[in-house]
Symmetry: C2
Subunit: 331 residues, 2 copies
């Protein structure tokens, strides 16, 4: 059977260098690395990565626990995480833990306990107490993007994001402002969504506009925004002149509802979201942009620090800022 | 150090049963499994899964190579795959191999060669010759959802899907029919997209409608469909009465373009897509429905067969069928 010594000999490097090139740990020049990989190819050598794991105590893998993959935010975070771990040479174990699913129970009861990873990145995880205890029992670093899985969290400041949207509308003279979101508290994003709703309510109160504030609960997707905006825009009484969606998908649903009712955006109603979703450009949506890809990448970089035993602080919230398009105008 | 013998003793089962319960291979009653997991919890036992891998030659993990995660089809396939592997107790290693990226080269040159999985599910992978050679060198089963990574492929029949859309429009009396898609051949989905375009062209020819056929290349997303439909619907000459989008996102882009131009759907133009994307309901889009979640789950089940050494045939293409909504009407 071909061994690491054969690979090293063919590549013309030491066994230690060949080993470092294959494990991805420690410095190896790119020329040497290429010769080693060529030798691996030509000899058909299979690195016994399991054996490497036993020897070093490292698995060279990182887990990612994520409630959804098929939503824009989550998918972009996952791609950002993956990009960093491809660079660092760590495998990515995916745990799709949909809230309330059998699969989620299996992940917490069984898969995580195997500890086949050096650390766990939790994306948008809002764990219950039992789940939180399981995460604590891992004795592995846990780094979050949004969510409440531990002390290390990368996320935008939700109050700041809503404030940016609100102040933009106020500067355009809007007073009758509605918020769509803050829906079913049993659903995912419940806590993020609740914080944004409360921020909106506080801003309206502080501006003396409490009686002009409207809120319609909405599921956090296009269909939810469409339904909520239809209710809002057909309700009796004075129509709001501006809507803040708890995220872009909700605001896009509101745009479709407005068009369906023959209302002009922004002539009859201004719309602003939070995210800069991939559809925001097509809808000309003014929004508070965030980058889930960059948040995922940043969480992965923090994870590499934690695995290396470094306790550097996370410096401030993730970036967000206003992107002006055509969905907002004067009141 | 706590060993498997301690776990077995506390659970009141044999060491073999405790081992089966933890490895997930072989039959264990659910009551025994629960006692074993309780014992693991109470003792803080860490199964040395790497050592298990060395002993059995199995990694208890499956790789998934996928060009994108942030697109509806791919994300739903991934969720379907994950569901089956959560049931079977296999970890899922994610390899996000975006076409043309540095990460993709690393995956093919380095990550796959570690063979930290018992098999590889390839999603929508259109590999070049060098990549195909790497997949062959794995000596592991490869099962695909769409794409051309090997002989085992789960996918709808693209010609059948386009035929369903075409015959629906023909039954409504449409003759001036356009196809949006078949865009840049260097982009992903190029081969799927090309097959659908060619199917459309053959159907129009066979119906004696070659001169009434229109085609505008489109990127395979909402923005692409919007741009292509805007070009199509503002071109000189008689306007098509119906449009087939190569997928729902393109058809949704066309719906937005039509509304933007003041055209009624389906009064002025009928629209039909392929997919049943999550936004199709909101847009009232008539479409040829497929289930990427079910295709992913089916590929995962085939993979478990292959890992177990069974060479059962894949029986026929994945299902697709017409879903009637409000975007199509008489010519």
């Amino acid at each position: 059977m071909t061994g690491i010594a054969d690979v090293a000999a063919l590549a013309g490097v030491s066994k230690a260098t060949a080993s470092r090139a294959l494990s991805g740990s420690g410095y190896v020049s790119s020329a040497a690395r290429e010769r080693v990989l060529d030798a691996v190819d030509r000899l058909g050598y299979v690195p016994a990565s399991n054996a490497v794991g036993l020897a070093t105590g490292r698995t060279r893998a990182v887990g990612v626990i994520i409630p959804y993959v098929h939503r824009w935010f989550f998918a972009a975070v996952l791609e950002g995480i993956q990009q960093v771990f491809l660079d660092s040479g760590d495998d990515l174990l995916l745990y799709n833990a949909m809230p309330g699913s059998v699969g989620r129970a299996l992940i917490f009861d069984d898969f995580l306990a195997r500890k086949r990873f050096d650390g766990l990145v939790a994306v948008g995880l809002e764990p219950d107490d039992a789940e939180l205890a399981r995460l604590g029992a891992l004795e592995r670093p846990v780094v979050s993007v949004v969510g409440e899985a531990g002390p290390d969290v990368i996320a935008i400041d939700d109050v700041a994001a809503v404030t940016i949207a609100f102040e933009h509308l106020r500067a355009l003279g809007h007073e009758r402002i509605a918020f769509l979101g803050g829906g079913d508290p049993s659903r995912h994003w419940a806590r993020v969504d609740r914080r944004r709703l409360e921020a909106f309510q506080a801003l309206m109160r502080d501006a003396g506009l409490e009686s002009a504030a409207r809120h319609v609960p909405s599921a956090v997707d296009v269909a939810g925004g469409f339904a909520a905006a239809t209710r809002l825009l057909t309700a009796p009484g004075p129509r709001p002149t501006a809507i803040i969606g708890t995220c872009d998908e909700v605001a896009i649903g509101a745009a479709l509802a407005a068009r369906g009712l023959g209302l002009s955006v922004p002539g009859d109603v201004s719309l602003v979201g939070i995210d800069d979703h991939e559809l925001a450009v097509t809808f000309g949506l003014t929004t508070v942009k965030q980058s889930p890809f960059e948040q995922g990448a940043r969480a992965a970089r923090v994870m590499l620090e934690r695995i290396a035993g470094r306790e550097s602080l996370i410096e401030g919230p993730a970036e967000c800022g206003l992107v002006l398009r055509t969905s907002t105008g004067p009141a």
